[in-house]
């Protein structure tokens, strides 16, 4: 499905939109903190022995009789890391998540940025090794299409550590998940941020996550751990659950806002293009 020509055309449309809106990058400003031999003036610096004399700003010397050199931004390749929650809790949302991941990865590869994609569950499963270029698009889409949910739990923090151990290079980390992690999401996101990644959360939930239509005696079974709990659900408990989910989502939103982490929330109802279009029009994957 993800390799259908029709689908790829849809991805292409999104890429064109991204180029138009964000100049081809998922990140509206791709500044580098490093100064180097780029073409964009960044700053002045004192001349030091051995510095490139072609960088000396003679006008400043003429005026101020001071030797200074121009510093230029170092153009670096952006690296986009996509972490797709592939735990069993994402079963009903996995296709939607993969479509979003496919779109984001497509834009990245078409923008000649580096892309690496992993699946998140109780372990970090590589879906696409770090690569660059349009030639990798099809391979990527095939890899996504073949991905399945797995795992007995979602260990976001552990997966974040494993991810960091593999990739020390900074980049844009896009986490696609429902963020219903029993151990919480703060530690993992903080860890990623600590290691100077730009983190963007794309929360995907559906009615199964947010609503409770069950009433009476029910045996709840966790789709991941297969733990069971026998309960009697009255309308009161149903409302409490929906409120608990809403509170959980609000907690995520508040944390992301405090932490400068970008967050977008969607359900599986709207077409995935709509979600991405909205993100792009808001300036991309920024906080």
């Amino acid at each position: 499905m993800l390799t259908d020509p029709a689908f790829i055309r849809r991805l292409d449309s999104l890429y064109l939109l991204a180029r138009k809106v964000l100049g081809g990058s998922l990140q509206a400003e791709r500044r580098s903190l490093h100064k180097g031999t780029g073409i964009t003036f960044a700053d002045y610096s004192e001349y030091y022995h051995g510095a490139d004399y072609r960088a000396i700003d003679w006008r400043v010397y003429a005026r101020f009789d001071s030797l200074v050199i121009k510093l230029f931004e170092l153009e670096e390749d952006a690296t986009v890391y996509i972490l797709v929650d592939s735990s069993r809790s994402m079963e009903s949302k996995f296709l939607y998540a993969r479509k979003l991941a496919a779109a984001l990865g497509y834009i990245t590869l078409k923008s000649l940025d580096r892309l690496a994609v992993y699946g998140l569950s109780d372990s970090l499963d590589p879906l696409l090794d770090a690569c660059r270029g349009s030639a990798k698009v099809l391979a990527y889409l095939r890899s996504l299409e073949a991905a399945k949910t797995s795992g007995r739990d979602t260990l976001f923090t552990a997966c974040s550590r494993v991810f960091q151990a593999r990739h020390r290079r900074r980049g844009l980390v896009i986490v696609l998940s429902d963020f219903l992690f029993p151990e919480g999401f703060e530690e993992g996101l903080r860890f990623l941020q600590f290691h100077r990644h730009d983190v963007y959360c794309l929360q995907i939930q559906d009615a199964n996550d947010t609503q409770c239509d069950w009433k009476g005696d029910v045996e709840l079974e966790c789709v991941e751990t297969l733990n069971r709990k026998r309960v009697t659900i009255s309308p009161r408990e149903a409302r409490q659950y929906e409120q608990a989910v809403a509170d959980w989502n609000e907690r995520l939103r508040a944390f992301c806002a405090r932490s400068g982490i970008g967050l977008a929330y969607t359900t599986t109802d709207p077409p995935f293009e709509t979600v991405l279009q909205d993100i792009l029009r808001r300036g991309g994957l920024v906080a």
Binding site: L180, P182, G216, E221, C222, K229, V231, S234, R236, W248
Partner: protein
Amino acid sequence: MTFLSPALLWSLAALVPLAAIYFLKVRPRKKPTTALFLWERIFQEKRASSLFNRLRDAWSLILMLLAAAAVCLALGRPEWADERKDLLIVIDNSASMSAVESGTSRLDLAKREAGQMVQGLNGNQRAAVATLGRQLQYRSHLTDNPRELLKAIDAIEPSAETIHLAALPTGGPPGSAPTGSEPTGNKPASENIDQTKTPSTSKPDPPAKDDKSDPPSKSKVAATPSTAQADIRTPLKHRVLLVSDGAFDVEKLPDHVELVKIGSPLDNLGIVAADMAYLAGDTARLGIYYQIASTYDEPQKVDLTLWSVGEDGREQLYKVIPLTIQPGTNQPETFELANAPAGRWLAKLDSADALADDNTAYIAVAKPEAIRVGVESPDPFFLENSVEAFSRGEELLSLVKENPAVVLSKSAAPKADLSIIFQPEGEAPWWTSLGEEVEAGAPRVLVENHPILRHLDATSIPFVGARQITPAAGAQVLVADDRGLPLIYKARHGARTAIVVNLDPVAAEFYFSAWFPVLVHSSVTHLAGRENTLAAVYRPGESVPIPAGRDDVVTTIVPPGTKSDGHESTPSRVETQGAWFQGVDRLGFYQLANSAGSHIVAASLLTAEESLLNNPEAADKHEPLSRGHSPAAWLTLLAIVALAAESILYHRRKVG
């Protein structure tokens, strides 16, 4: 506790599969969730109700099994011992129940009490309703339908009869039965109540035809089909409750009958005995006999007035007698009235008391009218003397020359309609052949208690001079010898009747026998239809001999126009045939008319037991009725409550 349908208790075995089905039913639905940790947080706060939740399934099973067990037990119809026997509610509607206290008659109080009993049964017990006066009269079938019973109770009317406790169903040894009834074997009395197909008006058996024998006795009153069934002496499986004021001899109340006493002590004066008759030998003076009873604690001064009632119904005061009535039954008194006319008389007590029916005594006095007797005989001396012997004194017979009603003859066959023939001779319609004199054997009475033979010993009469005789067809031979030779017989020929005495009174020296005048008197009064004279007054329920009454004689009876409760009603004529009139049920004057003439019959209460309304010896003696709902009803209610509770738990299981 007993179970009326123990076989249905086997339904309890259904509890086992029911429990198995329940366990299959209560398994909850399995629902996958992506946020079990959130659910756990929610239900962690409800730790306090976890015990209830754990036990809830157990409670649900217990309630369901409880409901099923209750239904199974209810199907077995449990009862507390034998409290719910069938009931026979007998309401006393005798004369004393017409006494009024606080504006309500005792009968209304009894009906109200019976109605409350029926309503208290709540349709869980079968009962039948009957009334008791002179007879036991069933008013309803044995049923558990309260409406039917209440309808029967409402329809009960008062009567002027005296209560007759012997009519109550008895509980004696199995198999024995009262005289005159047909035993129905060992059937339980409750079945006998069931067999009462229709509410019956049980009447006593009529006496034999043309036989002025003893009137239907009291012992035979109860021996009618419906009452006989009630009288069957079998162990009773039902309770008999008599709702009464207790105005009867308590000693006569059967032990198994439970008395529900109603009414409170009342003050009452009543005439308990009364009679009037012309004095012997003086048809111009009327002797009056009366007796008064009182329930007052103190002596009461009251006037007794005597009234003569004319043909037009107008009452004429004849005498006022001031009396001082002591408490209890006073001594009887007598007095005489001169030049008092025959006919209808009223004796009234001027007293406004509880029971009005006993304040008036209706008395009918007939002037004695001698039977005109003629004599046809070659030697009439002894025959005439026998008639004249009864002409003196009470003037029962009168010797006449012309237009006799009855003719005494010897050796002749008179042409009179009524004749007594001694020593048959010649030809006559009374015999078909008359032979020579024969020596009669020992006489045997063939018809016991015939009015002609009632007061004499026919076997001691020497039938000397008897002739070989063949009575006319249809003759009734009263006395014959051991060879069948008719000695005294009664024959009819059209409208004529004759009594033939087959002996030679001279040869038999019968004229000198004490039986001669007795035979003459009995025969004359029998032929004239006057062997049973009407009494001056009868009590309701008593049998009245109809003058000249026979099966082929129609007698018209006009009952009193006023009922004993004081309500006017249109008298309805009754026609009857036979020698007895059984229908005296109201107080007042009855007019009887047939070919022999017309007569007045008076009916008055005249019963001390009914007038003495307060009987302290009659105490309330009944076991409490099983009012309220049976255990089966409560078990059903329990089952419904348990099912309702289980439904709530089930609903919570399904919808929280």
